[in-house]
Structure formats: structure tokens, C-alpha cells
Symmetry: C2
Subunit: 216 residues, 2 copies
């Protein structure tokens, strides 16, 4: 049966969208194979015809699962949640689910696309300033929302897709030298979440394609 | 009961994300009030303190519904789908749901954020070229995906959130003079969908805040 085949994640150790999917697999306890797609080497392996067949957007991640190919990390995460047992990645309550999706989309549509590698290459010399501007704009809004929704996690005390989006975005923020200390709720949640196994094993510092000098 | 109060949509006639939510309300047959937020007038009414309390991201839409405030159009649409009767906005089958979300996110994360008003203001003189670049990049990928998933609609023959995202994005593409004829599947789906009542009544040309010279 196709559903029994191990899923394959085509991703990149440092891609925040790939990390989201790795966290979801880890939280669900789903075993999967990784195929590294190096976004830098050879001018970007995501640009090859072979990869384009998996994801016409030529971005990571792409996931082969249950006989279909999915791209867009939140679509993958919600598919996992709807087809795999294990802890829920979205709460049962519709209002809380909506808040989880609102926070996830604020990051996945409102921040990440504006600071990803392709955009920053187009921006050129001012890329650090550009990335900081959009991460700060998003984090200011996110901090206000999280003040109202957060418990130990982004929405209440249960880990959800919102947390899966938050931690890799904070990693990007630190990479672009944003002062995360300005956002006490974001900072606290990130620290708490980074203690959890699923976030540790999926971290960019310990993937099969992590270069030796970036390994933890 | 809070759930019985009419929802309030804070939006802008020409915002593609506001239009998405209007289509969803119309498909579900949910009566709602509109409060216009003019993104241009007074330097942008979304920047006021009053609006920021509704949506800290200072973007439209924001929706007051069932005693909570939601932003991010896909979160709103999925909340409506999970709490309101009427035609499904996501299919029942998990694989098809995943494809609907993949297409929706390709537009909502992969295209729209890169060509919205705030970004184009930052880009300055080359804004038309910039918008065209990112819409074309997204449409090339979308066309490949839709060739495999589409029937009369983006995924099979049933209207879904993917269609709700597609039509306003094509409207933006035309606004930025992208030749949509290059994408025959996108063009065909858009034409079919524009014949449907829910897409007509929610169109930017006939909203309470549509300026007289832009009315159909």
C-alpha cells in the first residue's frame, strides 16, 4: 500500500520551510528519508529540471508521500496532521485552530517570503537592511498577537503548527542579526520550544547535509 | 449567542486578500458587514492605532467573527469552512485538501506578498518589472501544477479555497500587465470562475468603497 512507503523530504538543512516539515515529522514520530537540495552549490540545485518536476516553484521543500508530491510546508504539515496519528499539530477547537493558522500564515506569508534567499539576491547590497525591516515588521505584529494567545506555546500550552513556524523564523532572524530580545514573548517561546526533542533533532545544525563547520 | 452576530470584514475593495474573504462569505451564504479601510487615503488607514488593534500587521483584511478577531485570509476562510454550513471550501479527501492548500499557499505565500502595495512602494521605480517578475515566476509554477490537478476548478470540479485564491491573483496580474494568455489553464479557470455569482458579487468593481470611476 502506497501509504506505507517512507515519505521522502527534499530539503536543505538551513531552509526554514524545510525545518518546519522536519519538526512536523519528528512530532508525529514519522520516519522519513531526506534528499538534500543544495540551494547554493552548482548555482542552486533547486533549479535543475529534475527538481523542477518535483516542485515547479523551484523551492524547498518538496515531499513525496502516499503516492503524491506536495510542496508548500503548511500544506504538508496539515496533510500529516490529517493522515497520521500522534499528537495533534492543530488544536481541536475551531477558534484556536484559526489562531494557529493566523500565526502560521503571518510567518509563512508575511515574513519568510520577504527574506528568503531568492529575494535577497534580487535586492543586492541592501539585503541585510531589507531582511531586518521585514522580520522586525512581522515580529512587532507577532509579539502583539502572541501576548494574547500564548501560554507555554504560541496558542495555549499545546505545541502546534504555529510553534513549528515560529522557531525556524527566529533562527532566520538571528542569522540576519535582528535583536530578538525586543520581543520578549517570541524570545521566551523560542527558548522553551528549543528544549523539545522534535525541535532539536530537526535543527539545521545536525542534518545529513549540514556542512562540518556549521555542525553543533 | 456570539456566533449569531453578523461578522464584520475590515477590507479594501481592491485588496486581493480582502476579495478572497468576500468570495468565501458569498460561497457560504454568510451575511456580513463591510468596514472599508482605504490603503491609500490619509497615507493609509491601515496604519492608524485603531486599525492596528484589529490587525497588528496593519494589513487588510481583519475579520471580527464569533467574538474573536482574525487576520490572514486563509485562516479566516478555513475558520468559515469549519464553522459554517454550506458548500465545502476544502474537499473531504486529505490528498485533495493538501493540493488545495498547496495551490492556495503558492499564491498566498509565493506570489501575493511579493507584489503587494507595501513592497512595491519600497521597490520604487522598478516596481512594475518587480511585480511582473514574481507573478510570472508563480504563474509558471502554478500552470504546471494546475495542468495535473484541475478539472473545471483548480482541483477537480468542485470550487475550493484554491479557486478563491486564484481569481484575485489573476486580477492583480492583469493590473500589473502580465500576459495571462501565456498560462492557458490559469486563464481558462479564471474565466469559468468569474461566471459564478459568488465571484461576481465580491468583485472589486462593485464594493461599497469602490470609487465611482472604477465601478463596473
Amino acid at each position: 500500500m502506497a501509504a506505507q512507503t517512507k515519505p521522502v523530504l527534499h530539503g536543505y538543512f538551513r531552509s526554514s520551510c524545510s525545518w518546519r516539515v522536519r519538526i512536523a515529522f519528528a512530532l508525529k514520530g514519522v520516519d522519513y528519508d531526506q534528499v538534500p537540495v543544495n540551494l547554493i552549490k552548482d548555482g542552486g540545485q533547486q533549479l535543475t529540471g529534475q527538481y523542477k518536476a518535483l516542485n515547479p516553484m523551484q523551492q524547498v521543500p518538496a515531499v513525496e508521500i502516499d503516492g503524491i508530491i506536495l510542496s508548500q510546508s503548511l500544506a504538508v504539515i496539515q496533510y500529516l496532521d490529517e493522515t497520521r496519528p500522534g499528537p495533534r499539530l492543530l488544536p481541536a477547537d475551531p477558534k484556536k485552530r484559526a489562531q494557529v493558522r493566523m500565526i502560521s500564515d503571518l510567518i509563512a506569508s508575511g515574513i519568510q517570503p520577504l527574506q528568503n534567499v531568492h529575494i535577497l539576491q534580487k535586492i543586492g547590497a541592501e539585503k541585510l537592511q531589507w531582511a531586518q525591516h521585514f522580520i522586525d515588521r512581522g515580529f512587532k505584529a507577532l509579539e502583539e498577537i502572541l501576548k494574547k494567545t500564548a501560554g507555554k506555546c504560541c496558542v495555549g500550552d499545546e505545541i502546534s503548527m504555529a510553534d513549528i513556524c515560529l522557531v525556524p523564523q527566529v533562527y532566520n532572524a538571528e542569522r540576519y542579526k535582528v535583536d530578538v530580545g525586543q520581543y520578549p514573548t517570541i524570545k521566551r517561546l523560542n527558548q522553551t520550544l528549543l528544549e523539545i526533542d522534535a525541535f532539536k533533532v530537526s535543527h539545521p545544525s545536525c542534518q545529513p547535509d549540514t556542512p562540518v563547520d556549521l555542525q553543533a
